[in-house]
Amino acid sequence: MSWPDFRFPLGGWFFLSLIPLVILYFLKLKRPRLEIPSLALWQSVVNDQRVNSPFQKFRRNLLLLLQIILICLVILALMQPFISAGPETDEYIPVLIDCSASMSAKLPGSDQTRLEVAKERVQAMIDNLRGQGKISLFTFSSGGRRLTEFTDDQQLLNRAMDEVVPTHRASKLDEVLRMAEAYARTAAVQRVIVLTDGNLQDRVDFELPFKLEVQRVDQGGNNIGITEMTARRSGVDNSSAWDIFVRVAGSGDETVFGEITLTQNGNTVGKESVGASQEDSERLVFSVDSAESSLIQATLEVDGFDSLDIDNSVWLSLPKTRPLMVRVDAKMYSWQHALSVQPDLDIDAAETPAATEYDLIISNNEELNGIHAPIMIYNGVVPEDLADLISIADLTAEDEPVQVVDWANTAPLLRHVRLRDVQIGQKASFAEGADAQLLEERGYEVLIHAATGPLLLQRRRGLETAFYFLFHTDRSTLPYRLAFPILVRNAIESALQQAGLAEVAAVPTGVLPPINLEADREYRIQGPNDVVDTMKSNSTGALNGVQADFVGKYDILDGSEVAVSIGTGLLSPLETSLTSVEQLQFAELSVATDETKVIDSDRHLWWAFAMLAFVFLLIEWWYFQRMRGATT
């Protein structure tokens, strides 16, 4: 049997208050006086042996005894007695709590979510905290957040625990581990505790400098949810038809059925039954006609128990359909020819541009005279800010023909493009001391390499992407190769993608993609769960970094007018699957996740003493009232 310990032993000094109580009791004890003819009979009664029995003596001061017991119980409750669940610790322990979407999953047969179970365990650790031990609380989902310093202040930790709420994001352990590592440098941290459902990527790109103790909460129940939602233009030419693809995945071994309802701006446009299990996901296709921009919502209604609700709704913004606007310089005939065979393009090849905004600009000159596009291809142009690093020169008779030695075939512009046999009549050379590293430092990425230097550069700035062919394509054999129309098609695809005209995907929770709005203007963001924020667009009109932590629709308001509506969804197959990894693979070692480890909590006894004190207070009140009633 373990004896109770006290969290506030100094409260024992309050026992000294018993001394004045006893003194006051005997000083102030005032019995009602009653004059009687003679004490003779009563004296003999009092002198009777039975009256002088020990029990009667005890009862004489019953009120005082009750008060002493009452005070003792109150003081004991104040001293916060507890029965220890384990030895004291002097460790500094960062505790990382998984708040990803899958932690919202309800446990089968219970209303508790996984996060609530995890919080109970952390609460037990906080309650057990004594000695020199200190805890620092972190939460993580796709990112990490530190809630407290290393502290043993239970009130502070309890307040921080109130802030631990589930997010609608996927989980990622790396970032919070890096935060913990950085923070661990301020104290001697031997181990880090992670409380998670194990719904993590099994490979973690992190070198562990401390021991990681992963405690896994119980498995959730069956779940199905929408893990993917995309839209693709289905028609040809100027058709406004879109194909909406919705993928539904499940977590259980058995197929769970439900019904997907698709609404367009609130009107139901499709409804279909769906079934999914862990092994088999189902992809549904809906056809939607949307000439103007519209907001599509897919909602999944599950037949029976569904562990996770937040993956049942996804929003998708369809843009207004129109041809891709391409500006190409008047004298770029090879490009014009390649573009002319591509469908659904509005090509402006006039001497003077007809508009200021295009989807794709192909130019011989870096100076665009006030026209803009998200994707620009410069032909035979060295960026002005790289003039000191790169020089272009025509080949002389003595020079070897310039050939491509390498290219980034994963870049969108160069997908399926073969440049091996392309010969180029110009050569680009690095200035002395310059190299690709310096270009990268200035924001340029080399996509095509020649033996002497770069041939194609890519620069991303905000929403704009610029490609710089350092050589003029007309001074190469590129326009005569099969690679050229493929490259042009890739450019069109990229422009379509950027303009959202060909394919759009639902936005997952986290951060909204950059939104094109008016430049330097303040917008109010109104989202689900009463999220309200105000942000300002930058000089290019892009509204960046809008937090979208919750699944739902986000309205970007310009005053009281809705400028743009964007919806988000969980869209994480991993989160929807609710699977738990058995082992996390770190850079050098593996860490097993332990499901069985349950932390015993200290058993607090203060409430029992407080209850007893209350009972004694009632008894004392009753006894006192009885005495008063009798004497009156």
Partner: protein, 278 residues
């Protein structure tokens, strides 16, 4: 109505109570053998003629009975009209005595020091008025215990008869000595305890501090309600003790409630117990 003493304790002075001794009244009492020196006038000659032996004829002797009424007028008797009841009973006993040509004296004793209030012994109907006036004039208050009151009375009293003690008999001391003194003084002890309702059936509970009305002493009582049964036991035991003490001295004892009417007390309680004859 007349008082009914258990023994014939009378004074030698002539009265209306027949003494146990042979007397000169006309009522025949008994015969006895003639002894030398007897008055020849009391020889029954008819019997002598038949039996040829002299027998003395005895007659009852009517002597005076002294009725001493002692009223305890201490402060304890002021509760529950006990003193009033004592005065009423004293008047009744006194009237009985005077109307039956007995010698009646009354003592009202209240203080430990000083002379007690007293009505000098007297007899005859002419004493009725002084008796009633004396009783009306008795005021209670004082701290004398009953045993001292008896002894005080005996210092002034002369004569044999009945001592009627009207008191609550609530005293810390033993009454044996006082009763012995009464008995040895030729007085038949009639103890009449008068208790109030608050003493017979007290309704008390809780922690109390009792204050003695005479001495001012205090006594702390805890849970008085739970001591009631013990109190009643002690009260009954005390009454039985007093009864025993009186009986052992050829006396009487009874206890009455002060709230009972005088008619109930006289015609029922005392009459049934043979204190008075109708």
């Amino acid at each position: 109505m007349r008082l009914n003493p258990l023994r014939r304790l009378t004074n030698r002075s002539r009265g209306e109570h027949l003494s146990g001794k042979g007397g000169g009244s006309t009522d025949f009492a008994d015969y006895r053998d003639y002894a030398a020196g007897d008055d020849m006038r009391y020889v029954d000659w008819n019997i002598f003629a038949r039996l040829h032996r002299p027998y003395i004829k005895q007659y009852l002797h009517e002597e005076e009975l002294h009725v001493v009424i002692m009223i305890d007028a201490s402060t304890s008797m002021l509760f529950d009209d006990k003193l009033l009841k004592a005065r009423q009973l004293a008047a009744a006993f006194g009237m009985m005595g005077l109307l039956n040509v007995e010698r009646v004296s009354v003592y009202a004793i209240h203080q430990q020091q000083g002379k007690p209030w007293s009505l000098p012994p007297g007899t005859g109907r002419q004493k009725i008025r002084p008796l009633l006036k004396f009783l009306e004039g008795i005021e209670g208050g004082g701290n004398i215990p009953v045993e001292q009151a008896i002894e005080t009375m005996l210092r002034f009293h002369r004569g044999r008869g009945i001592a009627i003690l009207l008191s609550d008999f609530l005293t810390f001391s033993d009454l044996s000595r006082s009763l012995n003194l009464l008995f040895s003084s030729g007085l038949e002890v009639w103890g009449l305890q008068i208790l109030g309702e608050s003493e017979i059936n007290p309704t008390l509970d809780g922690d109390l501090r009792f204050v003695d009305s005479e001495s001012g002493e205090t006594l702390d009582i805890t849970n008085a309600g739970e001591l009631m049964s013990l109190y009643h036991e002690h009260r009954q035991w005390y009454q039985e003790t007093l009864h025993q003490q009186c009986r052992s001295r050829n006396g009487r004892f009874t206890s009455i409630n002060s709230s009972a009417t005088i008619e109930e007390t006289l015609f029922d309680t005392l009459s049934r117990q043979g204190w008075v004859l109708r």
